[in-house]
């Protein structure tokens, strides 16, 4: 028997008294993410919703408790989520130049039994999806990363990762928009600015966008 369609199963969890988490699923899945983004967009139009942010497979909803209740909003979300999401328009495509000379490139290649240039070649192969923008300003969770490059995070995170570092962890890849601590493996760097403080929105990538990396010489 095929697994039941997940479209009707939305779990609503309170996040305190003024927010809730709508969970559409628990898998890293493009279709689930598409539905989460569509649901967040639909919820943002409601007067009782202050903000709705899509995660991989969830929507975090901040609401005005004077205008609605957890129950009423939860029911509305379940109704909205059962609707077939509108045909997704392909997100904007960003082409990102990368110098593949990151400090972890050798160790990643060694751990995976690959040559460093093969790591770079495999990393440039897919068109990645922006699943989620968040964590720090301009950070985007991109994926899925090819299985051949999947590695757990570093045991000891770096206290400072330079801005522009291109990194991998698990089935994800991303670019550090700012110099921050970080536990991902650094395989390259880019000069493209991800965080645009003087633009609105201040992030180059938006959820649903597509990203293609290409290698360049230093």
């Amino acid at each position: 028997m095929p697994p039941p369609r997940s479209t009707t199963r939305v779990r609503i969890h309170p996040l305190g008294d003024t927010a809730l988490l709508a969970e559409l699923g628990t898998r890293l899945d493009t279709a689930l993410n598409t539905r989460a983004i569509a649901l967040a967009a639909a919820l943002k139009k409601r007067r009782d919703v202050r903000q709705a942010v899509a995660g991989y497979a969830t929507v975090t909803v901040h609401f005005d408790p004077d205008q609605t209740t957890h129950e009423a909003l939860g029911s509305a979300i379940k109704r909205l989520a059962t609707k077939r999401p509108p045909m997704e328009e392909p997100g904007r495509l960003h082409r990102i130049p990368v110098v593949y000379d990151g400090p972890d490139l050798e160790s990643v290649a060694g751990a995976l039994g690959l040559q460093p240039q093969a790591v770079a070649e495999i990393h440039t192969r897919p068109i990645y999806r922006v699943f989620l923008v968040g964590f720090v300003p301009g950070w985007a969770y991109l994926g899925p990363l090819p299985e051949e490059l999947a590695m757990p995070r570093r045991d000891v995170p770096r206290t400072l990762v330079p801005a522009g570092s291109v990194a991998i962890a698990g089935r994800q890849t991303g670019i550090y928009p700012l110099a921050t601590p970080g536990g991902w493996h650094l395989i390259g760097r880019t000069s493209v600015k991800l965080f645009l403080p003087d633009s609105d929105p201040p992030s180059l990538f938006r959820a649903g966008d597509r990203v293609k990396f290409f290698g360049v010489r230093p």
């Binding site: 309170p14 305190g16 008294d17 991989y56 901040h62 300003p137 929105p201 201040p202 992030s203």
Partner: protein, 311 residues
């Protein structure tokens, strides 16, 4: 804009804050804004401002300010000695300053953050719809940084409301900042804690560690073990109690990371966040499960207390 206050000494960490920029969360920008929204709102109302006007949020050691022009100010929040020209002055009260008057702080008895409002609202850089300071981006507030000596605080507008000094918020209408029991609602991943873990979360005393700032507080105390698979990252909220792999819980505050994948075992209710904002490293803190109805009731009471200042 009128120059009102000159910063003689900025204090430990004084930033411009308003009610934050919630719409920027989807770009990964923290919502920011005043940590203690009650104290911030009360300070504004005491000087005749809207609650959304910007105030100065002071941390542990307040600034020394000199009035460049006559102005109405109010100081709320952490319990400390407020001094005008070296003489004690009341907190939670509108105070009229004459040109040359000096406002500074003596000993702090308890609490972490004071709010200083000026009539007309603190003028500052607007970034993504808010005057709040975001030091990571270097935007908003006083050019994206804490106050420095020599800065001058101007008001956005000429006095908007009636400029009445001596208006006061009754002590019994303020949150009980000495009660460090925070109300929580079970979070989406509460079930990842076993019975012992839940008992430790809701029954034991934690201490705010030294690793505590506007982003969040690491809490010392019981180690909480959250079972289960790694979670996919999701949008976070202020008040969320995250449990990372090491088991030391983190309470997310106003400048929190906007998304993450650690289990959220509980969320502090909105009315208790004013109390949380006033905790300092070493303070005891306990979590008590409450209901959404009870949380909203306290929220309404706090708003009624603020509304009493509008008349």
């Amino acid at each position: 804009m009128t120059d009102l206050l000159r910063v003689v000494d900025p204090g430990l960490y004084t930033t411009v804050q308003d009610l934050g920029r919630p719409h920027a969360i989807s770009s990964g920008v923290p919502p920011g804004g005043a940590m203690d929204r009650f104290a911030h709102s009360a300070a504004n109302l005491l000087v005749g401002n809207d609650i959304g006007a910007a105030t100065l949020e002071c941390t542990l050691i307040g600034p020394r300010l000199v009035a460049e022009a006559p102005c109405l100010v109010a100081v709320t929040g952490a319990d400390c000695e407020l001094l005008i020209n070296a003489r004690p002055a009341p907190m939670w009260s509108g105070i009229f300053l004459s040109t040359g008057d000096e406002l500074h702080f003596g000993a702090r008895r308890s609490g972490a953050r004071m709010h200083i409002a000026v009539s007309g609202g603190v003028a500052a850089d607007r970034w993504l719809g808010s005057l709040s300071t975001n030091v990571i981006a270097g935007r908003g507030g006083m050019h994206g940084r804490p106050l420095m000596s020599g800065d001058v605080i101007a008001a956005v507008a000429e006095r908007s409301g009636p400029g009445v000094s001596g208006r006061e918020l009754d002590p019994h209408l303020r949150p009980d900042y000495s009660n460090h029991t925070l109300g929580v609602i079970a979070g989406p991943h509460m079930k990842r804690l076993d019975a012992d873990g839940r008992a430790a979360l809701l029954g034991s005393t934690f201490h705010v560690s030294r690793d505590a700032d506007r982003m969040g507080y690491r809490l010392d105390g019981a180690t909480l073990r959250a079972a289960g698979d790694e979670l996919l990252s999701f949008g976070l909220v202020a008040g969320a109690l995250q449990v990372p792999g090491g088991g030391q819980p983190i309470l997310l505050m106003a400048d929190h990371q906007t998304a993450g994948g650690y289990p959220v075992v509980a969320v502090v209710v909105s009315a208790s966040m004013a109390i949380a904002a006033q905790l300092v490293p070493g303070d005891e803190v306990r979590f008590e499960e409450t209901t959404i109805e009870a949380a909203l009731r306290v929220r309404r009471e706090r708003r009624a207390a603020l509304d009493s200042l509008r008349s």
